[in-house]
Every structure is written in structure tokens, then in C-alpha cells.
Point group: C2
Chain length 206, copies 2
DNA sequence: GCACAGATCCACCGAACGGTGGAGGCGCGA
DNA sequence: TCGCGCCTCCACCGTTCGGTGGATCTGTGC
């Protein structure tokens, strides 16, 4: 029997998860917590096998809670369940010691399979998360923008269109587009908006 | 005779400015400074009438220096001369007590006219800066995003398209577009990328 | 000498975005 | 009760963006 702890600040989400696992004969939800600190405490007190952890919570967030659990309760496997899959969410969580990373659009069956896998010590990742990780491995220089790319990103952050950025740098519009494509690849971004966001998160922009 | 002090961390810029004012018979450059702290000190020691101040400098920046000068040397008029005209640069500078705000693409004649105007206690603003200010005046609640708008901006920063953001918030795509238009208005942004940038600068986004 | 990374440029296409000018509903405070 | 702010939605249009798969030229380092 897998002892599961749910950590999420939204009551609705907790309710939905409780229902989901009510059907499972080999999984029992032994408790819930509303934030990271409570999650750590309960995981220890209840001897949870698997902790289903949200990332964004008030107070201690999911990353900090995961890191703390790795230290204080190494037996508990942390499975991240969150809405976001940007690199800046995924990588810290994996580094902190999460064994899996799922998105909230996962189907109930996927969720249960993931919990069972986590209990066995196996890793389960959402497909888009896998992409990010492979990106990290495949390109050691990913996340390191060249000077030119940083210039382009800064201009885009300041509201320049491709045409305007090209004029500002005295190059062609096509080059701006190429630079942006490289930036998207390196930052794991889908468009200029998310690239700018990643730029700020990684302190590449002012 | 207008006593002018130049405060900028780039020697090239200081040199160019010195040359510019060498031709003016009614303006004398009484000194230069490399950062805000030095600027404050020299403005007092040299009894400058007008201080030409860069915003982004190592150590004490232009905003802090302007505020300090307003206290310690109320006679010195601070004229901002910088490369950037985003709201997050302009507004703090004006609040700190700058009498004018010019961009570095200004022509020498404009610069001299501005210095003379500043010496007379008149305000001179670059056109794009005026836009920002008028936007502030016209809408007292500009810059304060509603909770819903913050949600939308956060989703956009995480790479959501309008369609995806709409799905995430259980509303229509048209509503997302409307929210974004309001966000652009309030933040003085032109597109989702610059809106995300302003969001980070104003610490609205994580 | 050659590989490699970086910067520049090209063409094509569909999809998404931004601009504009509306509209209705709801709740709150004057 | 009457505005006002906020959230929601609609239609139309031109422009821009993102995706793809190339290409050349430079400088650096092995």
C-alpha cells in the first residue's frame, strides 16, 4: 500500500486529487498540506511514501520543500504536480531532488501510474518536461546567450519589433529572426514574451 | 553664465558633451563626475546651476543622486540625459525631482536649449517621455494591474498563446485580448514581450 | 589546414497578434 | 440610484511573428 501525501494550496485541487486516488486499491491518501512547510512536517509524521507536491505555494514553495524533504525524510519520493513547465520551474525542482514532474493537465490514470512508479523509485516526466531536460543535456551551452543574442533580447524586451531591432543593430530583419530562434532554443521559450520572461528570471536582462 | 556639471560613467559621452558645450558662450562646463555620489559632491562644491545626469551608473545611480541633490543643493537643476525611455526609468527620475528628461539621441542644439531652459527653471522633456507622463496623468490607476490582468500577464510570460491563456482561465480568447490591451495601456508597452519586461521591472511577475 | 561557433542573410507560409470600436453584466460605493 | 471599475465577449483588418531549411563569411583554436 502506497502512502500518499498531497501538498497544494488550492482546496479544489486537493479535493480532486483525493477523489482520483479514492479508486486506487494500492494507494491511500494519508494526509494533505497547504504549503511546503506543512508538507514537510506531515510527510515525516505520516511516513509518506510519495509526496504529490505543487510548486507555487505561499510560504515555503515546492522547490524548498522538496530540498528539505530530501534531507529530513529521504524515504519520501517527491512527485511534482504543477501547471507550469518552463525551464525555470523544472530545473530547480529536479535539482532539488524531485523524482518526477507532471503537469496538471495529466489524466487520472497517468497520475496513478506516476505515483506507483515514484513509489518504486522510478522517474516519470511529462513529455514537455522531458524536452527541457534533454535540451539541457544535449547542449551544454544552452542558457548561455551570446552577446549579440543578449542585445537582441534586450531590444525585444524594450518593445522593438524585429524590424526595429534590425535597424537599431544595423543588420537585416532576417538576422534578428535567426537570433530569436536561437534564443528560443537556448532558453526553452516558445515566443518573444516567454523568452523575455526567462531572460529576467536568469538575470540576463535589466 | 550657466554653470554646468556633467555626470556620466562613460568617458566618451563626457567628452562629447564637453565638446558640445564648448561652442556655447552662455554655458560653461565647470566639472564632471563619474557616478552619482561624485556628482552630488561636485554639484555642491562647484555651485552648479544645471546637472546633466545619466541614469544608469555604477554605485549611486542617477535617480538616487537626483533625490539627494534636491535635498542638499536645491539650487541645482537636474536634467536627465539617458538612453532609455521606459516608464520604469522615467517615472522614478521625475519623482526624484529631475526638471527635464532627454534621450541621448537628442541633437546638440536641443541639448543646449534644454540646458538653458533648465537653468530658467523650465521643464524640457523628450517627446516619447512626454507620452509616458501624459499616460500617467490621464489614468491615475495606470501601472496598477488588476488581479485578473496579472494572471493573464503571468500566463503570457510563461509562454501561453492567447488561446492557451483563455483555456487556462476558462474565458474566451477575446477577453484575453482585451485584458492584454489594458495591460499594454497601463504599462506603456507595445506588445506582449515588452509588457512582460515591464512586469518584471515592476516586480509584478515571478 | 580544418573544424566549429557565431553572425549574417534568404524565402516561404500559416498562425498569431495588435488595433479599433464597440457591447453587456456585475458589484461596490457615493 | 447612478455612476464607475472590472470582467466578459464580438468582428474586422493588416501586420508581425514563428517554423523550416537552408546559405555564406568570419574569427578562434586545435
Amino acid at each position: 500500500m502506497i502512502r500518499l501525501l498531497i501538498v497544494d494550496d488550492h482546496p479544489i485541487v486537493r479535493g480532486g486529487l483525493r477523489d482520483t486516488f479514492a479508486d486506487a486499491e494500492d494507494i491511500v491518501v494519508v494526509g494533505e498540506a497547504r504549503d511546503g512547510a506543512e508538507g514537510v512536517e506531515r510527510a515525516k509524521a505520516l511516513a509518506a511514501d510519495v509526496v504529490l507536491m505543487d510548486l507555487r505555494m505561499p510560504g515555503m514553495d515546492g522547490v524548498a520543500a522538496t530540498a528539505t524533504l530530501r534531507e529530513q525524510a529521504p524515504g519520501a519520493r517527491v512527485l511534482i504536480l504543477t501547471t507550469f513547465d518552463s525551464e525555470s520551474d523544472v530545473l530547480p525542482a529536479i535539482e532539488a531532488g524531485a523524482i518526477g514532474y507532471l503537469l496538471k493537465d495529466a489524466l487520472p490514470e497517468e497520475l496513478m501510474r506516476a505515483v506507483r512508479a515514484a513509489a518504486r523509485g522510478e522517474s516519470v516526466l511529462a513529455p514537455s518536461v522531458t524536452q527541457h531536460l534533454m535540451g539541457q543535456v544535449r547542449k551544454p551551452n544552452a542558457g548561455t546567450l551570446t552577446d549579440r543574442e543578449k542585445e537582441v533580447l534586450q531590444l525585444v524586451a524594450n518593445g522593438s519589433s524585429n524590424r526595429e531591432a534590425a535597424a537599431a543593430l544595423f543588420i537585416g530583419e532576417a538576422s534578428i529572426k535567426t537570433h530569436l530562434q536561437h534564443i528560443y532554443d537556448k532558453l526553452g521559450a516558445r515566443d518573444r514574451a516567454s523568452a523575455v520572461a526567462e531572460g529576467y528570471r536568469r538575470r540576463l536582462l535589466t
